[in-house]
Symmetry: C5
């Protein structure tokens, strides 16, 4: 992941507002979904071309336009022109390396957040941009996945309150959905911690270390993606933006509580992973010590004995002991005595 600045450097020296897609290369078709609704009714339509979309828009209704894919710069440009979005904002939408941020441009509110997708063994980040206007929301996503499907369903169902509320409530719903997804990431990280902890205790291997390292870096990335959002949601919940009505604020505050909890947990997980590293290192150094002890016991007992048997293996002509009748049993006894002493010594030292 450190390699991701390779693309940004292409922008060095370009004038501001130059639209340049930065992110993994994609070739999928960009899907545009328009979902207009009032408290009584809703209509949904999918488009392939921006022009068709723009023709169909009438400002009477509350409208949510969702674009899945920001790699076709020209489309983003057209939509930007239609909704009078500042070119710097458009530049940020297509540059998927943004830090979460919020900009209040009077006419609309521009919010960048990061979705976290957890797969079997790795974590992926996706940039979601929200343009919250008076009675419309334009949202951009890098991929076409079903992140917001449930919200779409809630709009379409008759008994949801979402349709009777203004678009600021929809913006809340989108943010809430993203923040709820962070719990999935927490679960993913928590599971990994639990797994690694077990493996460290049972069978510490350098592979485990590699994984702790990866986990740590993943946490760094999650933290970087999540942390700035806290301040954004806090600002929203304080009612900084005129676009958010008073009775939506209580919901935003609920999201804020979730954010705090997510951040708390990430910080705690970081501490836990640091603890795991210590645990691993200590385990390894304890094992080295264990191995050393065995080696020392064996060596220390047998080295003197080997010397003694070597002694009587010498070929000197005049070695009186060799002629003695009880020489051999005597030497065996002496050696037994020596090893006995050694063992008692090791017992005392608690090495055995």
């Amino acid at each position: 992941m450190p390699g991701r600045y390779k693309q940004i450097t292409k922008k060095v020296g370009l004038p501001p507002g130059t639209l340049l897609h930065i992110g993994s290369k994609r070739s999928e078709k960009v899907k545009i979904r328009k979902l207009c609704y009032s408290s009584d009714d809703w209509t949904e339509k999918e488009f392939d071309k921006v022009d068709e979309l723009l023709e169909s828009i009438s400002s009477a209704e509350k409208c949510w336009i969702h674009i899945s894919g920001v790699h076709v710069v020209s489309m983003v440009e057209k939509i930007g022109a239609a909704f009078q979005i500042h070119s710097l904002v458009l530049e940020d939408i297509v540059n998927t390396n943004q830090r979460p941020k919020m900009e209040d441009n009077k006419e609309y509110l521009y919010i960048i957040v990061k979705m976290i997708h957890c797969y079997e063994n790795n974590i992926d980040f996706e940039q979601v941009s929200l343009i919250v206007g008076n009675n419309y929301i334009v949202s951009f996503q890098e991929n076409d996945n079903d992140t917001f499907t449930k919200i779409r369903e809630r709009i379409k169902s008759t008994n949801g309150i979402i349709r009777s509320k203004d678009v600021d409530y929809l913006a809340y719903a989108l943010l809430d959905c993203i923040v709820d997804n962070y719990y999935v990431a927490l679960e993913y990280l928590g599971d990994k911690i639990e797994q690694l902890e077990n493996r460290i205790i049972v069978h510490p291997q350098p592979k485990v270390l590699k994984e702790i390292h990866t986990l740590k870096n993943e946490m760094l990335f999650v933290r970087k993606a999540v942390w700035p959002l806290r301040e954004i949601i806090n600002a929203l919940s304080r009612g900084d933006s005129a676009l958010f009505k008073k009775d939506t604020l209580i919901y935003i505050r609920d999201v804020y509580d979730h954010m705090i909890q997510v951040i708390d947990s990430i910080e705690m997980y970081r501490d836990m992973v640091t603890g795991m590293l210590d645990l691993y290192l200590s385990n390894v150094s304890f094992k080295t010590n264990e191995v050393m002890k065995v080696l020392t016991i064996i060596a220390t007992i047998f080295i003197p004995l080997t010397f003694i048997v070597g002694l009587y293996g010498m070929n000197f002509k005049y070695m009186p002991e060799l002629e003695w009748k009880w020489g051999y049993p005597a030497i065996l006894l002496i050696m037994a005595f020596i090893s006995g002493c050694m063992i008692i010594y090791f017992r005392k030292k608690k090495w055995m």
Copy 2:
């Protein structure tokens, strides 16, 4: 404990205010206790069904309704409806993974705190929710235990001042009782630290390490449960809420002092545990060094000697020394001399 986000993720995408019990599965019956009191008298009653409770309520008296168990969502919902509690608050009551927080909803004050229960070998957390109204308190607890028994007794006894005061004083009493319980957790942690410290010095084993690790994680959880409460009680003691009268504030400030002391101690304990890990690691590495020295001394003394005896064990035809009369005693003397030199060398190096 990291696995506890498994349940929260069930909520992803659900509309706000959807009541879903999150926490360990329970099947016990939920007990409802109503304790109404004035400065002259008190009445207590237990209910099994919410409806019976609701019928019996009259708004004339000060009333404390305590529900032990939040796993029956429908009961919480009914009580919420009766006391006009916001659905987001109800959602938090049944979700036992909340961070301690306070919300001032004008009509009532909603406070979430965490009880800490210490058992022989582990620590458990229980979520307590307080709804403090004008002349009533509704409190929710996950289990039916005797946490608040003493407070109930103080209300019933004639000489307690608690009955002559308003419900804000009762709220204080409940908070004070919970914070006092934190000292039990401190004692539990302090005992464990003392125990582990002794064991590290006497007999360092990797099991100890495992326990330090567990202790560290327990502290992380305690800290996470306790820390946010500080800000809440601080806000209360500043008199932020109109429901708390002026002469209760001095008591709240007393609780605040206790909170600070608890947090101070947890932070200090954390530093102490970190120090213990260093102590353990150093002990292990010192022992390795000790073992190495013994091995080195033994090996270094005997390896050359073994070489010498091997030398005169060779079967060459022409080895003049073997024929000498004093060859054997001479070689014994030489070897004694060599080992003497070695021992002096080790003494000088402070290895013996």
Copy 3:
């Protein structure tokens, strides 16, 4: 020291204002000293019973009542009643586990500070409570020692300015005396650091490590006792309390400067002790390395030689070398050559 919360937990669930002595059990008699003074004169008297004290008090003079011992709860209660001290304050006076704090109760100022007593080999803490009133000071101490003797003498001597000033100046003098005592603790800690540093360099032993650990914990306790006082004295020096007159503030500011210096030094000492641990660990690991080198050199030189002499100790019938006339000297030369090569190799590797 972690075990000190054992007693606090006795208070769980008790109503506020319940006086319960918490601290080490004592049976000494409590001494009460009354020292009244005006700019012209002074009278001093010792009492055994509170009633006698109370009778003798007249509000005309400036009075300093000092009680050495808070373990007789009933005495504290009576004094509290006489001076109209809030029951929560009395509760804190007899609970010697308080954190330093200040409370401004309009009529009087309540300050808790911690004295540090340094003995040969350990540090002890004593809680001092000051009730600073309009023209009286009531001070409580756990033991009867000569901490404040010098101040008493300054009051009695004719040329001290202390007698011409109000009791706020006396309060300053008491605080100054306590803070000055912290320098004794700094000296104690500084001496220990110096000693340990020398021992680490000369002869690192695990005992040293144990002492570093103890020193670290002592610092944690000193820090915990000292740190909160800073904020208290800062508040006083800002003139937050009406009881402290303007021209006393310059003296308080002087105490504040001392506090800052004490805290600065403690923080620096902490960094130094952390550095010492690294020094110790590195020394141990360096020594292990040294030991390893000696072992390796000896073993590496002799193991091949021992193999060679073993080779010619074999009893094969057909070993032509054994028959050669110059076989023995040749093998000796070969072995000398091999060890020569080894030694050159080790020299190159800087192991010798």
Copy 4:
């Protein structure tokens, strides 16, 4: 790089405003480029001497004077006199060891920033000073490189908006260009991290450690160069300076977002490098453990066997076993049995 204070110390005791070039010695010719422009037209000219430049200046147009090289103190002095720049500012321009800072001298704004140049294997810093006046910018750079070439081209091209805007926009463009260059440094650091991480896992060597150390120090220097700029740009974006018009502020805020992202990344990289060190150390200690195990297994199996064969190599006259017919095969079996036991023991201990 720590040696760079050698030159600053030459200034000790000199009066303020003494111009003294501090930085690496240079002898290249200083190039002066004047680029005047209005929304319709532009003129560019290069000068060798300051006097020629000063003659050619007319205050009617927007003018950007760029001086590549600050080592000729007299030139800086003349320009300073012509533009009425304070002598303390001039002193800072020629002292290339400044910390990034901004000074608002009413008539002009003085900004110091650090360019980061990344080469194959090291990082270099260059001080850029900007004097932003009413309708002119004077910029100083240490070397003559093509950092600002693209901006010059944007001014000359007809379709750029830069020409229609005031010089504050040009100042923004210069700052933006410098901050964009920081991404190149991030890429350089990110690449190095990735490389090192791979090498640590594949083949940990102390050389790697040396490089981690160098990388860490490089990060410290980058951080020191970048961090203060954040506050400067923040101040600009708040509109603190009257020289920056309102509609330039949105662009400045864009630069500010980039700064935050750069700083975030540096902080994250630091954490990652710290993690790498742990990874390396653990890898080394794990390898030591592995080596130890092999040694122990070999030694532990063969040392007892060697003892046994030595035993029967003794030359005692009366050793009955030697005479037995099946003595040799029996001893072989016994030794096979012993090694079998050992191997089973090691298997159980998970050493094999």
Copy 5:
């Protein structure tokens, strides 16, 4: 240096304003220099006695009185009386263990700063006290050295602006001179870091470790001496004191920039030294690993061979192999094969 609190503890219990010299004992004569100046002229005189000085003072001119030596308490007392300096200030002047601080006593400004003197191998601190009055400055220094010689020369030279300015500019010049001296300390520290880094890489020895430790502690002391000055100069540059005129503030701000740079560098150096410790430790542990490998390779190859030659050194009567004609060459071949396998194994494991 930790031992320096030994002297302070002498002050415990003394009344405030008791003058007691704390610092290293000195017996040199105290020198007093008076330098009066106006924009036209200057006069300089040296005194041995305070009384002579006091007689010669006339309040018409700007006057700088510099006292080199604070160990003669009576002299400080007299000067204090003449300039009406508060006794607490005088107490601080003679106590050379003060923390840098500033006190604004309306009539005069009292500033304590620490000079850093760098010698070959250690760092020394000297306390400088400045009393900045309306048209006079009284400065105290512990020793008589040439720290301020250059400033004296600047006053005496005709072309310096210092003489035309008020004494606040002189105060600035003194502070600037002290802060400039900090760069000498930075150079000293930087040089030491560079030296140590080289020695760690070339030849790591525990002596190096000792020096890192000393360097770390020196940095702690430098930091403690420098850090508080930052806030003081910041306060001055904000114009908090009425004694400092507006056009001096720009110069003070310049000193402030230097302070920030000094502090930045110290913090960076600290990080670098921490990194060095890691580097050293890793080097040592890598070397241990290297040594282990050599030992293991030698031992692992020869131990089995030694066993084999021992085997055929046994004296059993019936060992058929010994009788075989090709037994000896066969065993040599087998041993060559075994060592070959070992070497291949070690190659694979990357140990050779």
